[in-house]
Symmetry: C2
Subunit: 204 residues, 2 copies
DNA sequence: GATCTAGGTCTACGTTGTAGACTACGCCGT
DNA sequence: ACGGCGTAGTCTACAACGTAGACCTAGATC
């Protein structure tokens, strides 16, 4: 059932995930689902648990920086596979055991890496913000194909009066032809910025 | 009407903001609202516009770092006043003129500060992630009063098996008695981390 | 064979956004 | 003064939502 739910949400987005449709997907009445799940919120919590479990832990022998970097990248991979995950996470909060486990692990990594509890606390928040903050929404590319002329014209009209944004959009679209407007580079840039900053704090 | 909508959402959260209830608030039938608004999404877009306009621009004579810091702090103030704003922003995207204006301004600030277009692009994403990433949700304090014994017991039970989180929660609640678990310090910490990192990139 | 239970179905309630028809009031040019 | 018209509001209705509650059904257990 959780698997089918994830698959449905991946196909149609979170907004088509209703109990009725999910039941239909499983060839079953909507109310039958409530034999396995207390409520829809309960189902969403289950979703989060399974998705967080998809985040592979990084190798234990790495130092704190590599370990955290690996965790962040892995988390990002999962959120790319399931773009609706962030919204569900935000709506449902962060109190499940899977998430608490990851937080505990991150705190342990930081503690073993020589961070004070206070600094680890700050680091946790900054890294969480990095992972869950939304980046890729602005000017999402809507696929690899060239936009139709009228769409491009509408975009250009919308950006009239914003010269710097226009410039940036053009540059990005040029890169896009080459390397698909690589968001991973973007993500890693900010992540390393944060990690380097934390390291400098640590050795102070 | 926008004012009443903001006030209703501030009072009851975004989930009680329905067209019927808003109409009731204004002493008017729900459908009357559609004379002023194309749809509820349109209304939400209007909300974003007014709230973004609440973000006061920082003084123009400051250098890039102070200017961006001020903008980020001002944005945070608004999001603290209207906690439901982030969710609406995420659901509705970032294509309104108010937001585009802020982005344009930030890009101009960065450009005048000597950043390349590429670096400014990265900086924009990192700062956006900082501002919109959620931090304060984890262990939200539920007010200044001490929690009732059974709530505290439930929290302690939920955190059994997570020693580092427990330690952190206790430390945070101690600070909480003193200074209310100051989230502003948290926010500023990450913000300065990012700004300092950007500065180092710039002078490279 | 009687009973219990896990799973599924059907109906119904209250809520949501909103389309569409209808109504009442103020401003317009003639 | 008067017919027409736009503007604002009401009422009804529809499809979709989460889910409570009653009912059914087949297999396991005593």
């Amino acid at each position: 059932m959780l698997r089918a739910t994830v698959e449905l949400a991946d196909r149609g987005g979170i907004e088509v995930l209703s109990m009725r449709r999910l039941g239909q997907e499983l060839g079953v009445d909507a109310m039958a689902l409530y034999r396995h799940v207390r409520s829809k919120d309960d189902l969403l919590d289950g979703l989060i648990e399974t998705l967080v479990a998809e985040i592979l832990p990084s190798h234990a022998d790495a130092d704190w920086k590599a370990a955290l970097r690996g965790q962040a990248m892995a988390a990002r991979q999962v959120m790319l596979r399931h773009p609706w995950m962030r919204r569900v996470l935000e709506e449902r909060g962060t109190t499940g055991p899977a998430i608490l486990g990851r937080i505990e692990l991150a705190l342990a990594t930081l503690g073993d890496g020589g961070f004070s509890l206070d600094l680890a606390h700050h680091a946790l928040h900054v890294l969480g913000s990095r992972i869950f903050g939304f980046n890729q929404d602005l000017f999402e590319d809507s696929g690899p194909e060239d936009p139709s002329p009228e769409v491009a014209a509408a975009a250009a009209r919308a950006l009239a009066g914003y010269p710097r944004i226009t410039e940036l959009a053009q540059a990005a679209s040029h890169e896009g032809v080459l390397g698909r407007c690589d968001d991973d580079v973007e993500f890693a840039f900010g992540l390393d910025l944060v990690l380097d900053g934390l390291e400098r704090f640590r050795t102070r």
